[in-house]
Symmetry: C2
Subunit: 273 residues, 2 copies
């Protein structure tokens, strides 16, 4: 097996971080979400600091972020000899598990049925019902009096007009509201970065586990940073030329190539000089 | 064959005219629509005056109404010896033919697909498109930014959000707007009148042709006066207890019983002393 060219890894990191430093606490959440989401899975301070060090995070910044995440109830820590071991709290694990299906989905959602709820003009009870449903997070607001949800219309919306079926036309004004120009630009920048990473890894020998883990974390992090800024909708709800599906495909391809390293492998490698 | 009791006919006329005099020009349109809608079918002034006379219309009022209908291009007249013969103009026939399917329908409409068109907030192009479609007459306005139409969404509504499918909930505010309380009352009054007519005709011998024609005209006229005051929608779009379907059934049953007399039979009877 040929040895990896260290420049390949550095170029990939540069491509995935060129749009400025990622927030450290948010990166740590991604590390746990990708590498140690299952109950009982722990990561040592040494592995965390190696991964974050590759991305340019200073030890002090890591300590501050870990402190904050513990305080906010996202992670828990315990000592094991001279090492600190970290794991997701039950709360952190639940949040992480809730986001994972969207982040790792192989395909965009493709519901075959939608429902639209419409409140009457000046009907304050109907308006309140819409607001209530909007807070639930399962609806896309189309207009002040209209929400769009997936699947058939729920029962108990007697005060609202409801129609359920197929979305026949998604106009430009809605597409640009779902994915405004700034977000489209972020998607295009991500696509460029992913293309560079694909190009670098094309034909290159496998990376050492800590480098593979680091790239996985940067990929997942860059992907979720754009993905979670808009509702989970099929391609027809996005502006013409939106490169979201191409990004999803590349992210999945790269994660397949950069196989998730086992935690004990990472721990052993982090102890090597 | 037993002779008809003249009181039966008088009671039926009274039931169908108790809510005040029908407009004479409108009654004449109903006469032509029911008895002489086909090209070439003509009705003499003598038959018109016998039918209208049964309903209490004075000869002078009939002359004024006929004059107005000729002037407005609804009917045409010609002399034939000492008699005047009247027929629908092409325009009048087209109007009459357009309304007939709704008036004589055996069942309320039951589309299995609807589409809803929604304009964006503050999108003046979308608002204009909705207005344009509303003028076409094929849409029900649900809100200032939302229209409901039958069947699948049309092509060329790119500026609007469109969903097509099944109406899952029709709220009370929409039902009362489609059929306000005053119209519901008119329906209930019609139902009472129709019940009285049914009761009168139950087991009675057939009426003479001019009386049958007169009752037909009053039935169709009373029915279309309420029916055409609201859009053509299935029962689920009407307030609870709306007796529209019961009325439709009784109207159809009575029209079946009061067979449409041939025009030459009416002409012969009108010349009898």
């Amino acid at each position: 097996m040929s040895t990896a060219d260290p420049q390949v890894f550095r170029n990939c990191v540069r491509a995935l971080t060129r749009d400025g430093q990622h927030r450290v606490w948010s990166l740590i959440i991604t590390i746990f979400g990708d590498l140690a989401q299952k109950p009982g899975e722990r990561i040592s301070g040494a592995v965390l600091s190696r991964i974050l060090g590759e991305v340019g995070v200073k030890p002090e910044a890591m300590r501050v972020a870990l402190h904050r995440l513990r305080k906010d109830g996202w992670i828990e820590s315990r000592r094991s000899g001279r090492a600190s071991l970290y794991q997701l709290s039950a709360h952190g694990r639940a949040q992480s598990a809730a986001a994972s299906p969207r982040i790792y989905a192989r395909k965009p959602p493709a519901p075959d049925m939608w429902h639209l709820l419409l409140a009457g003009s000046g009907d304050s009870a109907g308006a309140r019902e819409l607001e209530h449903r909007l807070v639930g997070g399962d609806y896309l607001q189309l207009a002040s009096n209209a929400l769009l949800g997936k699947g058939p219309a729920p029962s108990g919306c007697d005060g609202l007009f409801a129609i359920e079926g197929h979305a026949a036309s998604v106009p430009g004004w809605l597409r640009s509201r779902i994915c405004p120009e700034a977000l489209c630009t972020a998607y295009r920048r991500l696509k460029e970065a992913l293309e560079q990473v694909c190009e670098q890894l094309e034909g290159a020998p496998p990376l050492p586990p800590l480098q593979a883990a680091t790239l996985r974390v940067l990929l997942v992090h860059s992907w979720r940073r754009v993905l979670l800024r808009h509702p989970d909708l099929p391609e027809e709800f996005f502006p013409e030329g939106w490169p979201g599906s191409a990004c999803r495909e590349m992210v999945n391809g790269l994660l397949d190539r950069l196989e998730r390293p086992a935690l004990d492998v990472l721990e052993r490698e982090s102890m090597a000089p």
